[in-house]
Symmetry: C2
Subunit: 664 residues, 2 copies
């Protein structure tokens, strides 16, 4: 028998509309009043009133050039054939750029366009006064001009830039660097900007602890409040983190009321789902009123919104991805409205989905994707969909929304991606799909260090998956370690078979040691594959298509062991680190992976084989700037090469060497 646990599950658009309409109708969405800040401190703030110039700029007629101020009426008739002399000090006065115009003068002749006449003799001098020094200057009595001046030529008249009373900036305008200059020039020292919305975030939960605490089993480091607080800062508000409140109804109610007094909006995180210790909805209900509880989105379903006295309160779910998404959906529009500004619409990129993504009917899903530009197409690949996997957000380039009325999106479909990064960053990302190796993480880091413009994005789908991605033109390079058991050669026969029409360059990254990982001290005394049939040994496998899975199967065949006799054969991990983690945490007793992963987590290692790990690169990418940069790291960056050696179990003697080239 199934039970409805949430109070309701409102469709997303309805929930947002209901929320904003309700706040608006009660007068809680009005723009905030202004507060004075000094103009130089106002960058990025929002004007709370129109800024009308108090002064004109320039505030006096001034010379726009280095030259001589004259009265244009006295220059009539000057020409090349009949130059006109003007007496210095009376008819012409030297002015630098910016100098006020002397009274009675109304034009400036550029210094380059006059001849200086010494004494009364009328001798022409080719030098400007500054090159002659003071002594020479004293001798000059006249300037000679060969063209008449026009009225007010080369003069910056009062108000040329800003006329007093002119509106420099409208209300609700975000202040940019040049605006600061214009306000100062217009006579402002301080300026009225919108007060920053203050958001108080209450972390709740008996199990959560502050970062830096020595963790006991069951402790969870509290970090959501810092993610949400950073979002508040980016949106122009100010976040206040409340102390951690344990799961206790009365304490939570007290906290809500205290937070209510301290800010403009209260966020409770979490306790928004329906666990037996969730007091958030009760606490909101008993201090104010719930507007909705439960929205049909994934992740983020348990979100709730309410009003306590005169302020909005949100119950934000505890899973980090749910928290991020629901906070964006329900807090951001309120914070923007208070400031009198509109949210920028998300940047949308058209992409092709590389893998199908099934979705639950009736829930709008926010699918996180990584994007790569391969040839002319943007390829979006879904990353982990777990609401608890924050790294899926750290690594994601954007979201694809799967509508509530859809059961999913097929591979190859065109999708609109709401970007979390700029298109430029995405276009400068090398997409590496295939087998996982720890050296790839170091490579990504060294690439970014030396070429900050570039990124390396790795997806771990196994060697076969990598070659298939090249075939489908979804990746620039593929990491692969596929042994041809007949020839003993790596990768070449697979490339010939899977990519017969493509020209591929195979560049060695490393030789590496594969072996059985076991806990420190090898408590179950695993000596090799022959022990995998033991009743007390649980194995952890890699996914189909992984080179390491093929290596496992090869060894099982050699030992004539049937997969069904290996306990745990059916449980799959996608990376070496996943296998290592499973062994470390007791999910399994052993699994096949590279030495580097054992070293990373302090496990013991039973060597099984040394294998070659190459990067397969289609010739059309091989000479691009991006791949050239990557290869220069592999071939020449000693810091990178040494770091790989330090991981352990690697032989870099062929690192960067072309092992095979199907194109020549």
């Amino acid at each position: 028998m199934k039970r409805e646990i949430y109070l309701e599950t409102t469709p997303l658009n309805e929930a947002i509309e209901q929320w904003l309409r309700r706040l608006e109708s009660q007068g809680f969405l009005k723009t905030f009043p202004g507060e004075k800040v000094m103009v130089p401190e106002s960058l990025g703030r929002i004007t709370a009133e129109p800024v009308a110039a108090r002064l004109s700029s320039p505030s006096y007629h001034s010379s726009a050039m280095d030259g001589y101020a004259v009265n244009y009426q006295e220059t009539f008739g000057a020409s090349e054939t009949s130059p006109k002399k003007l007496k210095l000090g009376e008819q012409a006065v030297y002015v630098d750029t910016g100098d006020p115009m002397p009274d009675g003068f109304n034009a400036v002749i550029m210094i380059e366009e006059v001849n200086l006449i010494k004494g009364s003799s009328g001798l022409a001098s080719g030098e400007s006064p500054r090159r002659q020094g003071v002594k020479g200057q004293e001798e000059i009595k006249y300037i000679e001009i060969v063209e008449p001046a026009t009225p007010w030529q080369n003069v910056r008249v009062i108000g040329e830039d800003i006329v007093a009373t002119e509106i420099i900036l409208p209300e609700n305008h975000r202040i940019m660097p040049v605006d600061i200059g214009a306000m100062l020039a217009g006579g402002y020292v301080d300026i009225n900007v919108r007060r920053k919305p203050k958001v108080v975030i209450i972390p709740t939960g008996t199990e959560i602890v502050d970062p830096g605490t020595n963790l006991k089993k069951g402790d969870i480091i509290e970090y959501n409040s810092r993610v949400l607080g950073s979002l508040v800062s980016e949106w122009g508000g100010e976040a206040v983190r409340f102390r951690i409140v344990p799961d206790n109804l009365d304490e939570l109610k007290d906290a809500i009321l205290e937070a209510h007094n301290a800010g403009d909006m209260v966020i409770i995180n979490a306790g928004a789902s329906s666990g037996s210790e969730d007091f958030t909805s009760k606490a909101i209900n008993e201090t104010g009123e719930i507007i909705f509880h439960g929205v049909s989105i994934k992740p983020g379903k348990p979100v709730m919104a309410g009003i306590v006295r005169d302020k909005p309160v949100l119950g934000i779910p505890g899973y980090p991805v749910s928290a991020f998404i629901t906070f964006n959906l329900f807090a951001k529009p309120v914070i923007y409205r208070w400031q009198g500004i509109e949210m920028d619409p998300p940047e949308i990129l058209q992409a092709v989905l590389s893998r199908q993504a099934a979705s639950i009917l009736g829930q709008e899903e926010f699918l996180r994707v990584k994007i790569g530009k391969v040839e002319d197409k943007f390829i979006a690949t879904p990353v982990s969909r777990g609401a608890g996997v924050l790294m899926s957000l750290v690594r994601a380039d954007g979201f694809v929304r799967i509508p509530a009325m859809s059961e999913g999106i097929g591979a190859g479909s065109a999708v609109n991606v709401e970007l979390l990064r700029t298109k430029n960053e995405i276009e400068n990302t090398i997409v590496c799909i295939g087998s996982h190796d720890n050296a790839l993480d170091l490579l990504a880091n060294s690439l970014k260090k030396k070429y900050p413009r570039l990124s390396l994005s790795s997806a771990h789908v196994g060697s076969m998956g990598g070659l298939m991605a090249l075939k489908k033109r979804e990746a620039h390079i593929a990491g692969t370690h596929l042994l041809d058991e007949e020839t003993g050669e790596y990768n070449v026969s697979s490339i010939k078979r899977l990519l017969p029409d493509r020209k591929i360059v195979l560049v060695n990254l490393v030789y590496r040691e594969q072996g059985l990982l076991v806990p420190k001290g090898n408590p179950k005394n695993v000596k090799g594959f022959e022990d995998l049939t033991r009743e007390d040994v649980v194995f952890i496998n890699r996914q189909t298509g992984a080179g390491t899975r093929l290596l496992t199967d090869k060894h099982l065949r050699e030992f004539r062991i049937k997969p069904e006799d290996v306990k745990g054969y059916e449980r799959e991990e996608y990376t070496h680190m996943g296998v290592a983690s499973a062994v470390l945490t007791g999910i399994a007793d052993t699994g096949l992976a590279i030495l580097a992963s054992a070293n990373a987590l302090g496990l013991d290692f039973v060597p099984v084989a040394k294998e070659r790990y190459d990067l397969a690169i289609p010739i059309e990418f091989y000479d691009t700037d991006m791949i050239k940069a990557l290869l220069s790291i592999i071939r020449e960056d000693n810091e990178f090469r040494n770091m790989v050696v330090d991981l352990g179990g690697y032989d870099i003697s062929d690192m960067g060497k072309v092992m095979y080239d199907s194109g020549v």
Copy 2:
């Protein structure tokens, strides 16, 4: 005779390359070392080293659901027809989401999928434990399940999110909100980020004064340092404003050396041009070395760069537009390199130039443009090209670069605009071209206040110019006050003549008073047009095509005055405020303009005529959301309507009324 004033004028790309190469070769472009900051304070900072997880997250196996922890091996065989009972406390333990898995348990069954059995009687209970309260819970002895559990189902295993040793963020990565969560989850409390580059900006000039000073003639408010400092902040650095240094070589040299000790880069502003009091190049030369002085760009030509001891020094020109452009070109790349990050390329928009822009051969010009999207085309209109007109930057939407080898760009040419605003802002801008009226400024402000998404951009080219802009499809609306002398009707006959094929709706904005502006007290006793022929009266005119110009000419004809008998008839201003400013500052004694402009600057006013000022709106825009929003302000916003009345000289009795509709 012309003289070369600059030391040299290097082409722009050459100057940038020379500058960066020289700094690089001397080791002055290396990324900065790291400094520790607390993780929650690290938003927007740049990682100075790779961040590898110290802890796994989660750090223990935990339940991913509210439900019952079980051992999956004890659930084998459960089905709808043959449910299985598990004893609470022994075979099944209640867990909330996030609770650690009890030892020996390896799967969680969701609470929605179990039946609770009271006592030993086996009676099914339809209620969840939390709804039964403590008393009910005590009675439950078993759970009943109808499906076997799979290993580790609904369990978040250790490291599901982050595996210890995994690289969370690479070096040279700008920290985003979610990254802060991942670092905290990965065991970090503080983090190594790049030290912020510190830029010391020295304002120089005997004539410049701090904002807030009571201005004397010749004083200039110093604001460039605040604009440049704000840019430094936006680029991730820290700006220090040095005290104002007068034009004195020794003081400037001392200032450079003091600034050199206080920061990573020294900016001298200005004194970079060639005026007789410019000491900047000399001061750099005597404390260090000049790399280049003079670059063939406009504006910004006098920029200079040098090295003093081990640090870059820039001499940035004094005109605000020159300062902004050269600082972007020469300081920004250095500040980015120091932080280990790449500059984002400017966003480029393809547009059509509405007016021709001639340019000087041999200088790369940075033409500021306003952009509007009319129908499907982006129209770029050049704004003031004066290097001293900061408002041209405040109002600009972007730059068009006119190459050094070009003499200009013709009207109708396709141009690439480097955007200063987002494309979205531009798409939400109503383009109003035509006659100027002060009420338009208020309208722009009220529109932004009520609809923060929208902007109104006005270009003032006169009534005829506005109708021509509609004809060329370069504007959404045009402000117009063209009197048909035969019929006495406004605007309709001009629209019929100029736009015979277009359907135009004519909406009244105001009736307004035009008159002769004179200084306070009317010192020359101007009584009307008859006084314009007086020897001691200088007139200021409006440009050809302006409705006010036509009004002037009509009155001159009526008084039988020839234009050549009016002193100043040939000097043109483009706006009412321009005329008012000319009268206020003594450039002219009188000019024809609206009463509002006289009131704004405290001038006296000799009434001449009352006229109708309408907005002409093509029917295809009339029903768009943007124009509907604008009309709602005009028709319904009493705050706006009252503000217009307060300007003086306006009759709003027909404001918003449709005066003519050629489409019906």
